[in-house]
Amino acid sequence: MINDRSTRGSQQKVVRCVGITKYFGGVRALDTVSLELLPGEIVGLVGDNGAGKTTLVKILSGLYQPDEGSIWLDDVRVAHLNPKRAREFGIETVYQQLFLCDNLGAAANVMLGQEPVRGRLGPLQFLDNHRSIEEGRRHIAELGITLEDLVSPVRRLSGGQRQSIAIARATVNAHRLIQFDEPTAALGIRQTDATLELLRRVASQGVAVIVISHNLDDVFAVSNRIVVLRLGRITLNASVNDTTREQVVERMTGVSFRRNVL
């Protein structure tokens, strides 16, 4: 790993990516994408299908390696960002297909990979199940989610409840950046509102947030900044106050509204 320390700007960036390009075979999924994320900022990432949104999210969570470009965490260049390194830094991602263990309870899912230990015997770690359930309950409650049964397998729960658990899971570790890939796709109106409120609350703790959504209402309701991807390139990167839905759609599709209307 190469560590280059550069001079710090007036406001420290949590994550900075510069000139990221990613190929899948002959297809260029991302084309010299540069993006900076500030603490506590909510960035709405929008674009048509295949625009490269999920690819960018997977690069920032370390699942994909970019072919060109560099990633900087806290102004330190990271040569190979892998999932472990991203987690250690405090980057978490809630994917569209929720990564939950259906056979485990809600608390066990939230605490997976960071179970409280009661004692050790050589390499064996004895699980403190009572504390695991209590800490899981606390993390879920902190998000304002009410869930009575923390022990039954989560496969018995509804889509909305499962979504909540996946988000609770991610927020436990997301100290710096949390990414949501279509967080409200499986949700009803009331749960969508609750989820958006939750994003605001996470961001207010100084965590940078990236939200991928096809729903522009949600994006405009919750984001500070909107980034539009089209065919792997950033076509718009603007404060939500300086842009309009028409402009966003225009940059997403490449079709000018005004020209069509006139």
Binding site: G105, L127, R155
Partner: protein, 335 residues
């Protein structure tokens, strides 16, 4: 249905999941057998029955852990044969205790080889271990020229024929290892991670659980258990043959599945697996002591497995309908 949760109370770990059904079936079987053949419940006979099931029982512990984590090793029958003949052959030249240890270590190595391939090659472990099953059997046949091992010294039998308080050594080992496996699976973080892996591999990896180490440990541990079982058997009989353990893997997997372990991974308990091992052993020996053609035992064992799995499937479908109702309720609550 109560599903045995990865971490459970004493009551739940004894009676959760399919265990109640297994207890009842076992009790009824013993009742019927002892009505017609009272001497079946004599201490001497029970000792023989326990001895018969202990070899499959020890191996079933490792297979249970493997299947719970979403893996399987079909080569255990061949591992069993290879470890048994290797230990018996070595006993002709090196002191017996070293031969026992060598057999067990060989099991661990064979398991490790399976693990290396499962970990590196992205193909189902069923296919890979189907291949190594043939390879290991071939090695066992080659080194023995296909014959049983002759000229094994008497000292080699000391391990398998030993008794602790009149209980045969294989039974003692099964009880001890069963207890350890239960504690490992239900009381440790590693055990929890096995369940997580069987439940959703991607989720477990995204949670930062080291999949390579888990697979390597799991298969190696399984191989060592097969080695222990094989050395105990060879030592008990005072010799070994390369045809040992043909169909062993199927008996073991049948017991594990009957014991409530989901073949798709993520569910099961050691108590259930041991109950199933005992039940299958009792059906086997009970029918013989009732003077019934032993071929019926085959049919009964197979039927028991099919009935148990069918009942599970029906319960799952009922749960599916229940979830559907929940989802519809949730939707209408929003509207």
């Amino acid at each position: 249905m109560r599903v045995p949760s990865p971490n459970s109370s004493v009551r739940e770990s004894l009676f959760g999941g399919r265990n109640t059904g297994l207890f009842v079936t076992l009790g009824l079987s013993l009742l019927v057998i002892s009505l017609f053949s009272p001497q079946y419940l004599s201490l001497d006979n029970l000792r023989v029955v326990a001895l018969q099931i202990s070899f499959i029982g020890i191996a079933s512990l490792g297979t249970a852990l493997l299947i719970i984590s979403g893996n399987v090793d079909l080569s255990i029958g061949s591992q069993y044969a290879l470890c048994a003949v290797a230990a018996a052959m070595l006993a002709r030249t090196i002191p017996a205790p070293f031969a026992w240890l060598a057999g067990i270590t060989l099991g661990a190595i064979l398991g490790f080889l399976d693990a290396l391939m499962v970990w590196r090659v992205n193909i189902s472990p069923i296919i890979i271990t189907l291949g190594t099953m043939t390879v290991f059997r071939g090695i066992a046949l080659r080194i023995t020229n296909g014959f049983g091992v002759r000229g094994v010294p008497k000292s080699f039998s000391a391990f398998g024929q030993a008794r602790i308080l009149t209980v045969p050594m294989p039974v003692c080992v099964l009880i001890g290892l069963g207890l350890l496996a239960h504690i490992f699976l239900h009381k440790t973080v590693q055990g929890r991670h096995l369940f997580a892996f069987g439940g959703n591999k991607q989720a477990a990896e995204a949670a930062g659980i080291n999949s390579k180490r888990l697979i390597l440990m799991n298969f190696t541990f399984n191989g060592a258990l097969v080695g222990i079982s094989a050395v105990l058997a060879a030592s008990r009989f005072g010799t070994a043959a390369p045809t040992f353990g043909v169909g062993f893997e199927l008996d073991v997997i049948a017991a594990v599945i009957l014991g409530g372990v989901a073949f798709t991974g993520g569910e099961g308990s050691i108590v259930g697996v041991l109950l199933a091992v005992v039940l299958l052993g009792v059906i086997n020996s009970g029918l013989i002591s009732l003077g019934i053609d032993p071929h019926y035992a085959q049919m009964v064992k197979g039927a028991a497995l099919v009935v148990a799995v069918t009942l599970d499937q029906l319960t799952q479908e009922r749960q599916e309908r229940h979830r559907k109702r929940l989802a519809i309720q949730e939707r209408s609550a929003i509207a």
